[in-house]
Symmetry: C3
Subunit: 278 residues, 3 copies
């Protein structure tokens, strides 16, 4: 008997209309004592990058456990189903499309990878379109129930052959930082590549104490520029005014006190921005 | 002491703003060890057919337990509150409006039905508009807690008098299948009445290996026809192109690789379509 | 050993993309046996009044426990983090911005308040923008795990100095009640300040048995008036027609049988309405 229930966290782009619940059911039949923690099921459809961002943000705060993640536009094709054991002791389960890599890094890095080739741990019948239900959820649950070990999952895989997402790096010049929106959160805050160090390389403390300018580099009217203030917290900006801040995960971010920056600025994931001295 | 927590699954059209949580609270007060599995609470408002579809898809994957389902436009009227015991051993609890019938069939068929006439298992006070909270949730929780038996719930009911939804059947001709959208999932995939057998009756393997035509039969411009390919999985179609596939529950379905078929085709639940030889 | 898992309910405006899950993770690391009940995480962004309404509705139905609530536009500013012990025995944890007051009243009234000044119960590092994760969730979890007492949380606070939301009171005249929309639920039903007693003061049983008139007092066209019927339940009104009813929490409410009253009437939270004799 365990004294604590095994934790299985679960992220997908399945939405809220039953597919995630089906996976939950599959897991509870295999591991009835599981404490399943839904990370998100409203990940933008097919957006592996959004899923990877949320996972990377969230998993370090979870108890050590099994982490199931399924954003899987390549389901039924040659993309491999995998599991990664990480430094902290967790196991991540999902498709080999880059979804798991950032989070694995945030949990101490990949120690070992396996391809999920052991079909005894899958459901007896598998469909071509729902590996979340047929492959990933049962494997995660067998790990949670401790009736399969990491080694049982399948063949070892070379971690340098794993599919990885392109990394976005900000570029720093004297007086400006060019970056990119890597995620738009549910408040409409724009999370940017890079952190406080890039801003401090480009701008002096004097600059940061004054209004800065924010430009959307993909806008047709290249002259469109918005005054924006560097602030520690939303309450330091007037309601409705733009601020640049360091978000709770250390990223630069753009928000509006009690407003939606993405709507106001017309910016989405992938949008390029420049933050510069006025 | 049970070794496994009792499972109560829960579906409603209550949305995400607290009504489902109230029912959860009611259940946990009666059955504190319950493992409550939310199937969906964003069922299209008042849509008994959508709720029935999701239940029928999801419940076979759940552990054996109690299944609470409330999509109940007739709350407070003469419609009966019921419970159905099914072949697999589960009990379904909800309104007698057709919501539970399909799922009961998928769980081995109805063995016995009861009208929820035993008010001792309801909350002491009941409202006219929220039987989810006052009637259905407490009954489900008493079953989960095993402090009421199925027989305790109320008077037996004749199962042939239960309200049933109209069943949609595809019609097959040489070279074409006419069917109807029975559900639009959160990806915008159109789930259709009928399965692979209807398609194979109408079309030869040679037909199925080539482009087919998809027509929306309710469209004004009856000539609108879309090329569509039969595929085993989304990855077999080019991103953005239409495919016909057999979904993970065995239904014919129409989707777009990394796109939204319902938006593209302007089709919703109830829409009639023809799939035909080119 | 407890025989029942500790219950922690949780409401926020964090949305569904991972922030609430992070708080869940934080809590489960501190209190692995917690039964966390999500009340809602789709509270209208920054709307303390909507959050307060939902909490006040929901918490009386929850088991006695710890109730975490975070709608916190003032995060990182001078607003105090607080906990309130209430008559029923629960503890409410959240910001001192009025969010918790109504629910505290519904749970037997505030017995004692504390400011969360004991940083040993917070996470070791705190951000300026995510006190849900860094302050409120860990405090709630320590209470749930019973490894901190209410007295451990911090300095006592005078309950008459707590921030309170303005209360909305209906006004009654002969033949009419003026009230205000205090919440729009997910069905589009308009929950109003006041209950059956105000309606009965203004209108005779004879009035209530006939069509009434509903006017939106903020509409430009002041003559716009809608016939509406007082009904016990939705099924008593024809599909698509307006009704006034007493909702399951005792508030007056306006709905449409199988429709959305807020959309139809163009009314939102804060909108003023008059219900009058025809």
């Amino acid at each position: 008997m365990r004294s604590q229930p095994p934790v299985i966290s679960f992220l997908s782009d399945f939405g809220l209309d039953g597919a995630a619940a089906i996976c939950r059911g599959v897991m509870l039949r295999i591991c009835p004592t599981a404490q399943i923690v839904d990370v998100s099921h409203t990940v933008r459809k097919y957006s592996v990058t959004d899923g990877a961002f949320i996972l990377t943000m969230a998993l370090p705060w979870m108890p050590i456990g099994v982490h199931l993640a399924v954003v899987d536009p390549g389901v039924g094709t040659e993309r491999r189903p995998i599991a990664l054991r990480v430094g902290r002791g967790d196991v991540l389960v999902g498709p080999d499309n880059g979804l798991l890599i950032g989070a694995a890094g945030a949990l101490g890095g990949i120690v070992e990878g396996r391809e999920l080739t052991n079909r005894e741990l899958w459901l007896p019948e598998t469909s071509a379109t729902f590996h979340g239900r047929d492959v990933f959820a049962p494997v995660a649950a067998h790990l949670g129930a401790d009736d399969a070990s990491f080694e049982d999952l399948g063949d070892p895989i070379a971690t340098d052959e794993l599919v990885r997402l392109e990394e976005v790096e900000p570029s720093v010049a004297d007086g400006s930082v060019d970056s990119q929106v890597i995620y738009v959160d549910s408040f409409g805050n724009l999370r940017l590549a890079g952190g406080i160090e890039q801003l401090q390389q480009a701008l002096t403390p004097g600059d940061l104490a004054q209004d800065l300018q924010l430009e959307g580099l993909d806008e047709r009217d290249a002259s469109a520029s918005h005054p924006v203030r560097f602030a520690r917290t939303f309450g330091e900006a007037d309601p409705g005014s733009l601020l640049i801040y360091v978000d709770s995960s250390g990223h630069l971010a753009i928000g509006i006190n009690q407003g939606n920056a993405a709507s106001r600025l017309g910016l989405a994931s992938g949008g390029r921005v420049r933050i510069r001295r006025s």
